[in-house]
Symmetry: C2
């Protein structure tokens, strides 16, 4: 791990990232030592920092630090946390705070190959996401809702779960973005009130554009979702998992999902 | 500072308190070296830990560690953070995680004495609190909403601000609980959907019980609040600040607020 460029596995206990979750993060795949889709991840990181008025370190600095951690040519997962920095008591940030950057690399998790080929059986979480338009879309460090939703999945030993918002709209997985296909149109939920807008979500939208397939950002409730031809979840670490089973939904064939899955694995996209 | 009982000002960069805000905290006054209302604060801390299924350290351990930090007989402010502990990547907690405890003591802030005698002019925040019944009332580490609201107050140089929720109900201050008096009845907002239930809020309710004054937990919107006879904000560090001015509200006399203010300062209550 590198903390502010130094080999270190600790941070100040006065960091606002700990005190208030006052920071943002990204998790990305490293393939044969090279961060995958680096440019996209950096742009998201900078966007999220700007939304919280945190000064984002430069792309060059972060990439060079990341590369110094990725000397092994193994597939791994990198995580970048940027916090607002060390602060005194009190919610309001002080002027001129220096952001803390924390970079770590760990071995890639090996997921069950059937999650990719046959798809997953997904839980529908009891937890409902609250609305906060000022923070929606941002991958910030306030993630207790995800912790609670992921705990539900872990208890049931399901690999992922779908989360609805307080109005009953389906928003995402616990750590992934949601898409579905109906009548040759791709759909993904609107994230203006809650949820995280991931890099992989943007890439799927790019895939649709490349194919001249319409991709619409909409609101959907569970009963409508169950009418979809295909449903899948994406994120930068898992790639794409088709959904095989939900209460009231059963699909064994996922032709479009498999096509997108393959496309996402290509480093040129 | 003490981290897990050791003199230390750093924590693991893999702590879930940093990664996800997966933990709780309390801030309390220390008067002449003695933590004020310790028993109440500990019960809240334990309640909040239980709500997140974090194992709370014993009251004896925390109090003895706190006392070892409070050797100076000065008035100070203590902060206790309990996180779920160190974790690997992934939102779901692992079994058997050992909580991290972080105790710190800092000099008490000296507030403007007029905030107590004449009251404060309060900002009405643009930020609206989202609803999350599973986390409402808990003083957890996901505090970005408070950071954004407090930033608004800091920009305007106002000592506190009122926050409404997404439905337009007035919930609290940015770091304090709200009360108002109308026709000899005390009122405070319902916190079932959002907000933090502080120790000082419980003490004000106890005061009302002692006086046989009704204290009702209700929902209120800003226009109704402006009709109140008195409005005040409380927390464990500031004590009680009457509200002197809000857009559409102006009061120079706060007789009941002053009475409660005095009562709260008494260590026997």
């Amino acid at each position: 791990m590198l903390v502010n460029g130094q080999l270190n596995d600790s941070i100040s206990a006065l960091d606002r990232g700990l005190a208030y979750g006052d920071g943002v993060f990204r998790t990305l795949s490293v393939k044969r030592g090279v961060p995958f889709n680096w440019q996209r991840h950096y742009l998201k990181l900078r966007h999220d920092c700007e939304a919280l008025q945190i000064t984002c370190p430069s792309a060059e600095l972060l990439l060079s630090e990341l590369q110094s951690l990725c000397t092994q040519q193994q597939d791994s997962v990198a995580k970048i946390i940027i916090t607002r920095g060390i602060g005194q008591r009190g919610y309001a940030p002080s002027a001129g705070q220096v952001a803390t950057r924390i970079l770590s690399v760990s071995l890639a998790t090996q997921f069950n190959p059937e999650f990719y080929s046959s798809g997953i059986s997904a839980h529908v979480c009891r937890l409902k996401l609250g609305h906060q338009p000022l923070l929606a879309g941002i991958k910030h460090l306030n993630r207790l809702e995800n912790v609670l939703a992921a705990s539900e999945c872990a208890e049931l030993d399901t690999p992922e779960g779908l989360i609805e918002d307080e109005d009953g709209l389906v928003i995402s997985g616990t750590r992934s973005n949601l898409f579905w296909l109906s009548d040759s149109t791709l759909y993904t939920p609107d994230l203006k009130q809650c949820g995280v807008a991931g890099v992989q979500r943007d890439r799927v939208i790019d895939w649709a554009n490349e194919q001249d397939m319409p991709c619409k950002i909409v609101s959907i409730r569970m009963p409508q979702l169950l009418d979809a031809d295909e449903i899948f979840l994406v994120n930068s670490v898992i790639g794409l998992w088709p959904i095989r089973k939900l209460p009231g939904y059963n699909r064994t064939i996922h032709p479009v999902s498999w096509q997108i899955q393959k496309w996402l694995n290509d480093e040129n996209h």
